[in-house]
Assembly symmetry: C2
Homo-oligomer: 329 residues x 2
């Protein structure tokens, strides 16, 4: 929990407290696993648009098990696995009392690490592919941050739908290995940002249908680089701003190519959509996971009591390994 | 006409040539008036996305009269007033042979200067108000370049629809006069870009419903200034880039406010819409003009043979006066 916003390593404390029995419409959840995401850190720092009232339990994604139900609970039963249906719920804990309506039921035959990390990254990729362009087999989707959590989920989901992907990643010494890894997930093309800006890029893109959808989590000039290749009347969705720079959008393509620039924020989607729509999305994603379409991200389970180590690791390093707090149930 | 792209003062020549009688499906048009717009200049310079095959007759807007018709012409008759239905048609001439399908019929009881200057500015404002947001009486539309041709058309059309407008103009010594002028056209609020960036702006906007639509012809940081006040799920349409800078779009509002950034180009709209849709737009705009909703822009008629003087004037000065070539018929 944290009682004030600030450096997560300083403000987060492990607190023991009593919890009531579930009242009418409530269920008692035993949390099993919850990852540490950049947005969680930002929320604790107070630099995220959602600020839960303090004191607050941190963490936004995670999976738990219903261990007791109050009267009048209809949809859930003891033993069901659940995930929170919206942000700011507080997943870094062992027990939580929650109103039934706040929870999404998920199957228990899907990997816990997959379920725990699905709410932000996988759902974001899923919605971007579904809601912004009418895509058919063979169409091209271009994205930067191809190696991000969302990027990898998008590669897998796109592959499953017969879409081609052009994935931009930052140049790095082990680029070949990364290209191999992303291609094994289903990426059609993986290119470095150096290649993206090279003369060969134009020629390379001529060999493909123009992308109808581009997904941007970088911002700055990288936005213009995507926009350059976007099809006429295509859509670019921005879901992050890793460069911490405003998007640079040349007026020409925006006006003359009649493209559509959108933003996407999973939290907003969850807050304005119905319980039924959210449940339907989770059902479809769990089904895809069961079919082997979606791999769990590379991760490391850390017991909740060692949260400080996991927090530092997730903040300090450039590792691709996601830190997942494990509640040991 | 011009036979090569370049400085309009150098490459444009007045040419005399013979013209055939109208063949099947064709009409002979006697041009009456055609304005000089920035896009015409850019097209001659070769820096506009539309480049007509050379040699070409310059000019994109204008109004003429049908003086002869070929066989099989159905919609038009001698004496009808017409405007070209698309860009690059070449309006700076006395006579033109055209296929009937290229022309839009306009009424002859509307001011010639209004008709001649409607295709770009008025139609752009009309479409932006119509196609990008569902606006109802009392809603707020915000725009920069409030003193541009499109800006003034938008003010008048918005006023007619009961919409409030917040119009940003560049700071200038005679700001009070400009505010008075734009308010007399129907502007609800006129503010300088200095005020837009001042501390008082936030307080001022609190007194109004958040704008559902913002129209941007400036680009650069001015884009972020509009975006800041745009309503959640609002739309910003960019139709010009006067600052010649890319748009600066902070990722935050784009993502968290779920806004929609679009571009608009009248030329594209004309090229992808049907003859019927274009004719319907013109009918509606001519009707509004007849009702006194739309004033003709401040202008100066210049005989076609003095085109060089009119070109220099339109390129060199910051005057608000539009130069309209008059063919003397």
């Amino acid at each position: 929990m944290y009682t004030e916003q600030g450096d997560p390593c300083k403000v987060l404390k492990l607190i023991n407290s009593d919890i009531q029995s579930p009242q009418e419409g409530e269920v008692l959840v035993s949390m099993m696993a919850a990852p540490i995401n950049p947005a969680d850190i930002n929320m604790i720092q107070g630099v995220y648009p959602v600020r839960p009232p303090l004191p607050a339990v941190a963490g936004n994604e995670g999976v738990g098990k219903v261990i007791a139900i109050g009267s009048g609970v209809q949809r859930l039963k003891t033993g069901d696995w659940v995930v929170p249906g919206h942000s700011g719920w507080g997943t870094w804990r062992t027990r939580a009392l929650a109103s039934e309506s706040e929870l999404i039921r998920v199957p228990s035959d899907v990997s816990m690490a997959t379920l725990a990390t699905m709410a932000v990254t996988t759902c974001t990729a899923f919605r971007m592919l579904k809601d912004f362009a009418s895509l058919k087999e063979g169409d091209v989707v271009m994205q930067n941050g191809g190696n991000s959590g969302v990027g990898k989920a998008l590669i897998q989901l796109a592959k499953h739908s017969g879409l081609q992907t052009v994935n931009v990643v930052r140049d790095r010494p082990d680029l070949d290995q990364l290209v191999t890894d992303l291609k094994s997930l289903g990426a059609t093309h993986v290119i470095s940002d150096a290649f993206l800006r090279s003369r060969d890029m134009k020629e390379f893109m001529k060999g493909l249908p123009a992308p109808k959808l581009a997904c941007n989590c970088v911002g700055g000039k990288a936005t213009a680089d995507l926009l350059k290749y976007l099809a006429d009347q295509g859509t670019m969705v921005t879901y992050g701003g890793m460069s911490k720079q405003p998007l640079f959008i040349p007026a020409g393509p925006l006006i003359f190519k009649d493209v559509n620039l959108r933003g996407f924020w999973m939290t907003k989607w969850n807050s304005i959509r119905s319980q039924e729509e959210r449940q339907a999305m989770w059902d479809e994603l769990c089904d895809l996971t069961r079919k082997g379409v979606l791999e769990a991200p590379k991760h490391r389970l850390v017991p909740l009591q060692n949260f400080e180590e996991a927090i530092s690791k997730s903040m300090d390093s450039f590792t691709n390994e996601k830190q997942i707090l494990s509640m040991g149930d």
